[in-house]
């Protein structure tokens, strides 16, 4: 390695001006990321000169890839476009799909620029939906005053006949427009996105971007603490709210630099005699909180990165990861009561809300196991409960977009399905395991649903 340098912030991709001690790293040069928030180690290999760079925070800010929607049209974002003297100019947005809101702004500005430079030129503006962010309403008003012709279309009302001719047809208007088209390009994730996802061990995001569709990640968080996603790394709407998102992110970086605390008081220790370096924990961890400990030649859980879901513990094939917290303990007074396995981030919160609304604890008269994430549910654990207790088991997980541990709901569902499959094959106890999804807001649903279930059990 050429040497070690330390920074407060690393920009992967495009860099913005900040007061932080920062470094810009090209996505192509980055080969690995180790460590956790406050002490990431980025391994770069620029022109075969490997270098280890220490950074406290990381912002991945890759550009969008712009894909033209029509072969012969110019891009709405380009300053180098053709103006043919005889033909009108056609601005095309929302084709074939709705464009991001910020495109409306770019389109209106472009239309006005052309009208200012060529006052006699006919300018048509084809769109499905005009989005009024920032000063778009003022731009739109000016555009109407400048006699730019706005034609709104729905799907099926617009056909591209040849590359330069657009057939616009709705009930009252049938127009064939032949002119210079400036089309809003389709925005896609940068080509390095997949490789970057692998380097940071991020779960597959929305539409191949890096951010998952999840309320806990709003607006710019990745699943990995201290790693933030902007613009073309985050998703299709990130261009519209870039300034606000940048402010939020830099504020987060400041807070992180002032100090970061561990998520809970528990240590998750890997027994280096049992660990076989299979990397299962590394692969399943939704927060990128596991890495290899070279000294011990075993995996280790990074305390600041860990978000406490315990998924690693429940999937380790050798039971090598231990915690001094009996989080699978069953609480309850009556062994005959049905058993609930509930996520502390959804059902538990919904139950508290229900209690404050109705004045009655909906979880009363159940035996309970409260878990940090239902992904910790294991087959062996469920089979053991089924053989020790005579009551049914209900697992209350989270709806997909409201799972604090991102993929926990899916992992739990997979386990429950396999449990049911096995029970069915042995023709035993098939209907005793139940699984439902909730969000913390669904207090009333939880109350009603548990009452129904209890009624069904009685029958």
């Amino acid at each position: 390695m050429a040497g070690k340098r330390k920074f407060e912030l690393a920009w992967i991709g495009d860099k913005e001006e900040t007061d932080f001690e920062s470094i810009q790293i090209s996505a192509e040069d980055l080969v690995a990321c180790q460590g956790e928030i406050g002490d990431f180690k980025l391994i770069c290999n620029k022109e075969n000169q490997p270098e280890e760079i220490n950074v406290a925070n990381i912002i991945i800010n890759l550009p969008y890839q712009e894909e033209p929607v029509l072969e012969k049209a110019d891009s709405l974002f380009s300053d180098d476009y053709d103006i043919n003297e005889d033909k009108p100019v056609i601005i095309l947005q929302d084709y074939p799909e709705l464009s991001a809101a910020v495109i409306s702004q770019a389109g209106l500005e472009k239309a006005l620029e052309i009208k200012d430079n060529y006052p006699d030129k006919e300018v048509y503006y084809l769109y499905q939906a005009m989005r009024f962010i920032e000063d778009n309403d003022r731009l739109y008003e000016r555009a109407r005053e400048s006699e730019i012709i706005f034609l709104k279309f729905d799907l099926g009302q617009l056909k591209i006949i040849e590359e330069e001719i657009i057939h616009y047809n709705r009930e009252d208007i049938d127009l064939k427009l032949n002119g210079n088209i400036l089309a809003a390009p389709e925005l896609k994730p940068a080509k390095e996105t997949e490789r970057i996802a692998r380097i940071f061990n991020l779960a597959d995001g929305y539409k191949e971007y890096l951010q998952l569709d999840n309320i806990y990640l709003q607006p710019t968080l990745s699943g990995k603490r201290g790693v933030y996603l902007l613009k073309g790394s985050r998703g299709p709407t990130a261009l519209t709210y870039f300034e606000e998102e940048l402010d939020f992110t830099l504020n987060e970086v400041s807070k992180n630099l002032a100090g970061v605390a561990e998520i809970d008081k528990y240590d998750r220790e890997v027994d280096d005699q049992k660990c076989i370096l299979c990397y299962t924990c590394y692969r399943v961890c939704p927060h990128g909180a596991i890495q290899r400990d070279d000294e011990l030649n075993s995996m280790k859980v990074m305390d600041l990165a860990c978000q406490g879901c315990n998924l690693c513990l429940s999937r380790c094939p050798t039971n090598a990861i231990q915690i001094e917290d009996d989080y699978l303990k069953i609480e309850g007074e009556n062994e005959q009561d049905p058993i609930l396995i509930i996520c502390e981030n959804s059902a538990e919160i919904a139950a508290e809300k229900y209690n404050s609304m109705v004045g009655k604890d909906p979880l009363e008269s159940y035996q309970k196991i409260e878990v940090p994430c239902v992904s910790t549910v294991e087959r062996g654990q469920i089979f053991e409960i089924l053989s020790k207790y005579s009551s049914d088991i209900m697992i209350l997980g989270c709806v997909s977009e409201a799972c604090k541990h991102l993929t926990g709901h899916d992992r739990c569902q997979q386990v429950v399905e396999r449990i049911k499959e096995d029970l069915e094959k042995l023709e035993i106890e098939q209907d005793r395991v139940h699984y439902e999804r909730l969000s913390p807001r669904m207090a009333a649903d939880l109350g009603a649903f548990l009452a129904d279930w209890k009624e069904a059990l009685k029958q």
Binding site: I276, C278, R315, P317, G380, F383, L386, S387, D422
Partner: protein, 224 residues
């Protein structure tokens, strides 16, 4: 590594004798632990499931588990000696090698397989493995841009693809990449396309299973 998957629970249950009173589930802590099929966790889950089954049938069967580092080497088997001795039946969830090694060392014991040994492969995703090698006994990866035509072409062809290669997909199944497309693509990337023009003589399969049961010795330990 050797990849395996746990047998269907019904098949496991049916393979156990009707008059069973005690069972040892023997896990293996190497390859099949990595393929999430035969390690300590799987042994424990299987124990709980079989407990539940026998309980539902009103049968009393004592079940214990023991997972050792490797079932294919004598030295590790010491840890299994007592558990094997005190149980009527052993269900090994090691690969086929481990099951047989355990049987060789315990001639008087019923040793049953709880796992299907599938192939030599790599982990390609969480919980997903892909075949990479057939163990043919004569590696030819150097001639095929590092992609094995024996293991990764469904027909083990050595002189280019068959007519069933369509858009990089094998005709045997849509989920299989054409091995020869992969060979071609990688050879092109490496500038080695010329190498593929050489005519391959029929492979000497005597180093594979066609030559009979195989064994070999390291000459440092054996004098010829």
């Amino acid at each position: 590594m050797i990849v395996g998957k746990l047998k269907d629970i019904k098949e496991i249950k049916d393979s156990l004798p009707d008059d069973i009173d005690s069972l040892l589930i023997a896990g293996c802590g190497s390859c099949v632990s990595v393929s999430l099929a035969g390690g300590e966790r799987e042994a424990d889950s299987l124990k709980e499931l079989l407990n539940l089954y026998y309980q539902s049938k009103g049968k009393s069967v004592s079940i214990e588990t023991e997972t050792i580092k490797r079932q294919c080497d004598d030295e590790f088997l010491d840890e299994l000696e007592l558990p094997v001795a005190r149980n009527q039946v052993v269900l090994s969830i090691a690969c086929g090698v481990g099951v047989q090694h355990l049987a060789i060392n315990n001639p008087g014991k019923i040793i049953l397989p709880g796992l299907d040994t599938t192939f030599y492969g790599r982990t390609s995703d969480i919980g997903k493995w892909e075949e990479m090698c057939h163990g043919c006994g004569k590696c030819i990866l150097d001639q095929f841009a590092g992609v094995c035509p024996v293991a990764r072409c469904s027909k083990s062809l050595l002189n280019g693809p068959c007519g069933g290669s369509q858009d990089g997909i094998c005709e045997v199944d849509d989920s299989i990449d054409c091995g020869w497309q992969t060979i071609y693509d990688r050879a092109e990337e490496l500038g080695q396309l010329e190498n593929l023009l050489d005519f391959e003589s029929p492979k000497d399969w005597s180093t594979y299973k066609d030559g009979g049961v195989r064994s070999h010795k390291n000459p440092e330990f054996f004098q010829e």
